[in-house]
Amino acid sequence: MITIGKAKDAKEMSLEGVGASPGIAIGKAFVIAGEQVKVDPRQISDEGVPAEIEKLMSAIERAKNDLRLDRSTAANKVGREKARIFDAHQMFLEDEMLIGEAKELIRAQHLSADSAFYEVVQKYQNHLGQTVAETFRDRVADLRDIKRRVVRHIQGVRRDFLSQLEGSAIIVARDLTPSDTINLDRHKILGFATDMGGRTSHASLVARSYEVPAVVGLREIFKMVKTGDRLVLDGSAGVAIVHPSVSTLKKYRKRQIKQHEISKKLDTLRDLPARTADGKNIELAANIEFADETDSVMAHGARGIGLFRTEYLYMKTSVLPTEDEQFETYRDITQRMRPYPVIFRTMDLGGDKSPTCINIPPEDNPFLGWRAIRISLEMKEVFLAQIRAILRASDFGNAKILLPMISGIGELKEALDLIDRAKDQLKRKTIRYSESTEVGVMIEVPSAAIIADLIAERVDFLSIGTNDLVQYVLAVDRGNERIAHLYKNLHPAVLRLLRDVVRAAHQKGVWVGMCGEMAADPLATLLLIGLEFDELSVSPIIVPEIKRIIRAVNYQEAASITRKIMEFSTAEEIEHFMMRYMRRKFKDMVF
């Protein structure tokens, strides 16, 4: 949606997109003009053909060299896994059909090398752009990337266009490709604004890891903005303002300063405990997926890992990870976090995560299908290897085991038997592990929530995974845009279930945590304290905000608000009430 502002020059324009990384950025735009490669329109002569083909081939060779370089840079910066996209680019540049067609255009139509290559790739790009499936449409950016690489080499244009970036800027692009971002100097980037993409697009991921604001899905910003234009980004509201008026700039500068103060204040919280004003301690931990995220966990002041997702170990190659390979990862993390706990969730594959190393046949309802512990209990050797790896890591710090997708006591007993068997196997080989390694169950299936007391009797802790639990309780697929509005963390049914689970666990003397997205929702924090959660685990970047709320409220206050909320009958009433309450209490925060 576009609204024309009232500014005197009438040029100010506000664009709505998707807020992909929070914060406010004010600065000049630097447009990455991916499409703006200009090709040489001139026809070549008959005699010129061999030289032009030679030009094309050597440019492709040089582009392939660049790719190898970028691949290793990327591997160092973002990990080998994410660098794999460059392998696909490499294959495109070796494609005989593609190269053959470009050569043919040079030969038959006497096009220059750059326009021939451009035309051929553009044709494929257009074709793919029209397909319905997202997996295929997403490859358009990859094609654009290789097109640019080769054309630049043919024209002898230097590729490090980002060295042109003097001073800091907001990066504006239609869409960002991995090779765009890999060479960016992160200290010069104020934010990202792109036409395409959602919260999981490449630009969004990079923005969140650089901790700069990003607004994606803006549709028209690329067309409207030139390098050097002034721009305001509000990554929390998902708004970009082009040619901001003086008063708009003033308004956002004020907000920016305020946010800066808040984040400085949040920094000072790093070493302080997550304790309410009246002295109730909450364990505030972080959810992570990669071992190298532990630095970020510590930097943001979390005390422990409340959820370490182990899936990527199974997703990264087509062979199953060995026990030793897993052990090394688990040990490193456990050692780094020592003395704080690290909770390892056993592999949660299936659903929307299909690995290449395990054959999960297509199902009509993957989220109700063969996934997580259901796979583990069938593939006992795979499960035992993972458990042994976690147990071995427990000798190096405080490791805990979390079992996902348990739906009944039968499964739990079977899993616990296997854990005992893994211990026996280690004992027989006299390999050390900590006998006191805690075992917990992830409460994410409604049946498990309802029999939480029976589960709690048999384990050391419970951790509520709200993403799946809410989806199952409300029968709402969040990915389905038509009904996504029905997905409500603060639905009375969800809150009652949470209350009952916590009560059941406490009656059996075990602690309860929450590791789903609800734990990261500042609107819910007060209620979670009131419901007496012992632990909350959120992504590292969210930790300071949640800690601040915890430290500013009283447990008594939270408990009485929660009692009141429990009498409301709709999610909307609860949201509305909490919004008003929190806004009054935290005037500087955005809810």
């Binding site: 696909a88 294959m91 005989e96 059909m97 499936a133 997996t135 490859r139 299909s354 054959n359 297509p362």
Partner: protein
């Protein structure tokens, strides 16, 4: 020339990774390999071609192999589809 009709069984369709595997396998044989979807026919030894089919889950393809090792080539390729490219 021999032809086989197959239906895509992996959830994400013939996207980049399986397309790459198909091309690599096809390239091991001397025979020409083509894939047809509806009226679109592409060279099975070109990643670009195979990607352009944008063959999603459930779509029907006709693979044809032509040459002295056409039988072996067909067997290897059909096998890939039957194993769902070891994907899901």
């Amino acid at each position: 020339m021999i032809e086989t009709k197959i239906r895509i069984q992996n959830k994400l369709g013939l996207h980049a990774r399986p397309a790459a595997r198909f091309v690599k396998t096809a390239s091991r044989f001397r025979s020409d390999v083509c894939i047809a979807r509806d009226d679109q026919v592409v060279n099975g030894k070109s990643i670009m071609g195979v990607m352009m089919l944008a063959a999603e889950f459930g779509s029907e393809l006709i693979i044809s192999t032509t040459g002295d090792d056409e039988k072996q080539a067909m067997k290897a390729l059909v096998d890939l589809f039957e194993r769902k490219f070891d994907e899901d």
